[in-house]
Amino acid sequence: MPIEILMPALSPTMTEGNLATWSVSEGDTVSAGDVIAEIETDKATMEVEAVDEGTIGKIVVPAGTSAVAVNSVIALLLEEGEDASALEGYTSSNGGADSSASNDAKTEEASDVEPGKSAPAASNAPKPAASTTSAPVSPSGERVFASPLARRIATDKGLDLKAISGTGPHGRIVKRDVENAKPSAASASGGAVATPGFALPESGSVTEIPNSTMRKVIATRLQEAKQTIPHFYLSVDCRIDALLDMRKTLNAAAPEGDGAYKLSVNDLIIKAVAKGLVEVPAANAMWTDEAIHQFNTVDISVAVATPSGLITPIIRHADHKGLAAISNEIKELAGRAKDGKLMPEEYTGGGFTISNLGMFGVKDFAAIINPPQSCILAVGAGEQQPIVVDGQLAVGTVMTCTLSVDHRSVDGAVGAQFLAAFKRIIENPALLAL
């Protein structure tokens, strides 16, 4: 089997880097210690040396690729006696971490640090993203080499092995690496934000809650989103009396048993967003350096709070689904999300996110965009308030919705068009039936 050459970590906090140049070509023979490539981070350029000897079988990540995740396979090395045929049928050990990790006796307890089982909202990664600057922290990940003892200590301490660079043979993570690592060190992996000058509180004055992998991914991704995406915000008040009436009528008419449903306001909002995106497809898009990718399907991520953090199960093809179908599907997904039992494909790959904090009485708020999407709609509470109708003061139920938009891919006018379409549908709920 070919030897995998992995993207090295130049520092304990490095999570990704740019593969600047290759000093070797496919077919070249290398010995241990030969410089084979140069990688750069925001801080430095470093040479990558071959650890094993052999022939470069395949360069997986071409020169000039930016944001290559640490420990991802960048090339394959053929050992002596192997020829190119060894590359055929070769599958990367991506995902191998899952099976090896599950051999661990403590898998059940460790489920929240196990790559692939739980990834938060923020790790949404539609396929086109793979080769772009927004290369996500892959939740499935590559195999992490770590000793059994290191794995167990990491689990006990709530450490993410991916964030730790190993100092054992071939970069294997061993006891001394995890003993010296602190749970909080990993969350600084966003790099740009350091917290200099903070005096640590005296022991006893804080309760330390170790960061789960999910928590760290949320931190990294949302920090990246807020820091790199030029956000702008558009707010609109929607009168929802008609929507509430329709909901009441539909729920009253719900059958028992088969086909039963109980619509929430949020279910109606999901459908309204779906119809709005059909009208204004430009808001259903993603930014990359080379092109704006406009999604051809309407897949809506719905933020769900779980005990371990935020996750966004996806209603796919929401534009083609009826209200009852959407309602039952989101109930089922949210239920499993809370149990941590969503499959990766159930929370990765949406094109637009809805976050609703109305049930907490929040009037309005601005959400952080869920990369690589361009828009997130923050929905506040529907409240009765005085309104002016045809020059007369009246009482109406009003809900404030705020759209956060990535200005790189969606301009203000496009966002406004979408919000106008959404408002029109919400305020004329019969349109939802079309």
Partner: protein, 470 residues
């Protein structure tokens, strides 16, 4: 005149020095090795190897005496001490030649003489080599490894006379199997000689200063060995000291003090095995920044001395005084000098130790007491040889395997064994420790049946309340 400028000069050709030289040569260094006596050092010539040859003879003798237990007849079983010793010397000679061949093959230049640090020339170290008081060569190199080893500690009033008072070198070439033998010190060296001569028929008395024999081992192993040796007729006196030895013509009178009471006893020979001292004299340490603490050169974790470019490895650099520790340090220093990446200092808690008395002892890692001293919460497992089919079939039902785990992490902290062939078993746990397995992997490992190694599995299971065969 041959080349006198090298990349590395190794002083001492024992298991530390010659291994360091070969590793350095592999790393493309031009290496000189200076050895005054024997390539292979004490280990190969006057230690590990020739004692194993002697003990093999006594083991076979013991088995022949007990042939009846196996349904065999062996009448008139006896031995020829001279032939036993000759065999032991031949084994050493063969391996000594082997080391010379290995050094030659790796193009290491060997100097037969005494080496001494002799100041600096630019960024290079000067090393003066002489033989029989005459200068042999003045060598230079950027780096020097001191691997001069150690020798037996001579107790005052018990200087070796080559006749009645023996140190290990005398005991390796005995002229007789003494009728009554006194062994002072019950470390690995003392207890191995006691075992050898006792098996050949000496009425053996072992005197140990502390309250148990083989004091470096786990207390449970010490107790097990003491019981076993006592059952075999060996006399063991602990918490005792030999105050004085009066030499007669053919016997000695030893004053043995136990709890304030002195008793005079007569013996035919005495073996003194009361520890070792480092060979730090006449190697040019005077006037350098190299520090010596209780006859051992002080180094940091990378074996660096107080002088840049001068390293010390093996016995002269301190405990544990084991050949394999010296060799490993030699490799580490050679790689460090070569700038090899990814090196780490040696983890001393993972160095195994073996003692070839009968029954054998082998251990690696922390003893139960050491683990507790470190404040660790531990789980201990034990498995006796009586529960193992292979041990019964071998006729070796006496022994114990004990393991110590960290209760919190499942780390294997230590393993302690006593019984037949345990010296060949210990490396299983050594590998497990180096690979940082937890109890889970050890439990999942399939151990072949029927083997003694199954006890290693059972002992782990026992630590977690899952033992099957006991």
């Amino acid at each position: 005149m041959a080349d006198t400028n090298f990349d590395l000069i190794v002083v001492g050709g024992g298991p530390g020095g010659y291994v360091a030289a070969i590793r350095a040569a592999q790393l493309k260094m031009n290496v000189a090795l200076v050895e005054a006596n024997h390539l292979g050092g004490i280990c190969l010539n006057w230690g590990c190897i020739p004692t194993k040859a002697l003990l093999r003879s006594s083991e076979i003798y013991h088995n022949m005496q007990h042939a009846k237990n196996y349904g065999l007849t062996a009448d008139g079983v006896g031995y020829d001490l001279k032939a036993i010793v000759d065999r032991s010397r031949k084994v050493s000679a063969q391996l000594n030649g082997g080391v010379g061949h290995l050094l030659k093959k790796n193009k290491v230049t060997v100097f037969d003489g005494y080496a001494k640090l002799d100041g600096q020339a630019g960024d290079k170290r000067k090393v003066h080599v002489e033989k029989d008081g005459k200068k042999l060569a003045d060598l230079t190199a950027k780096n020097v490894i001191l691997a001069t080893g150690a020798r037996a500690r001579v107790l005052p009033g018990m200087e070796p006379d080559g006749k009645l008072i023996w140190y290990y070198k005398d005991a390796l070439v005995p002229d007789t199997v003494p009728e009554r033998l006194l062994v002072i010190g019950s470390g690995a060296i003392g207890i191995e000689f006691a075992s050898f001569f006792h098996t050949l028929g000496s009425k053996t008395t072992v005197v140990e200063m502390v309250d148990r024999i083989v004091p470096a081992e786990d207390a449970e192993i010490s107790a097990f060995l003491q019981k076993s040796l006592a059952k075999d007729g060996m006399e063991i006196i602990t918490s005792a000291g030999v105050k004085e030895i009066k030499q007669g013509k053919t016997t000695v009178k030893a004053s043995i003090e136990v709890k304030g009471k002195v008793e005079e006893r007569e013996f035919d020979r005495v073996i003194v095995a009361a520890g070792i001292v480092g060979n730090v004299e006449n190697i040019g340490l005077e006037g350098t920044k190299i520090k010596v603490d209780r006859t051992h050169i002080v180094t940091n974790e990378w074996l660096e001395t107080g002088e840049p470019g001068v390293y010390a490895i093996g016995d002269v650099a301190g405990a544990p005084w084991l050949a394999h520790k010296a060799s490993h340090e030699g490799v580490l220093v050679a790689e460090k000098i070569a700038g090899t990446k990814g090196l780490h200092p040696m983890v001393k808690d993972r160095i195994p130790g073996c003692t070839y008395c009968r029954p054998q002892i082998a251990s690696v890692g922390l003893t139960e007491a050491e683990a507790k001293d470190r404040g660790l919460k531990i789980k201990v497992g034990r498995f006796p040889f009586q529960g193992n089919g292979k041990a019964i079939a071998l006729g070796e039902p006496e022994g114990l395997i004990k393991v110590i785990f960290d209760d919190k992490t499942g780390e294997l902290l230590g393993a302690h064994m006593i019984g037949a062939e345990v010296t060949e078993l210990i490396q299983g746990y050594g590998i497990a420790m180096e690979l940082e397995t937890t109890e889970a992997e050890l439990m999942h490992t399939v151990f072949a049946h029927p083997t003694l190694s199954e006890m290693m599995h059972e002992s782990v299971l026992d630590a977690f309340g899952r033992v099957i065969h006991f």
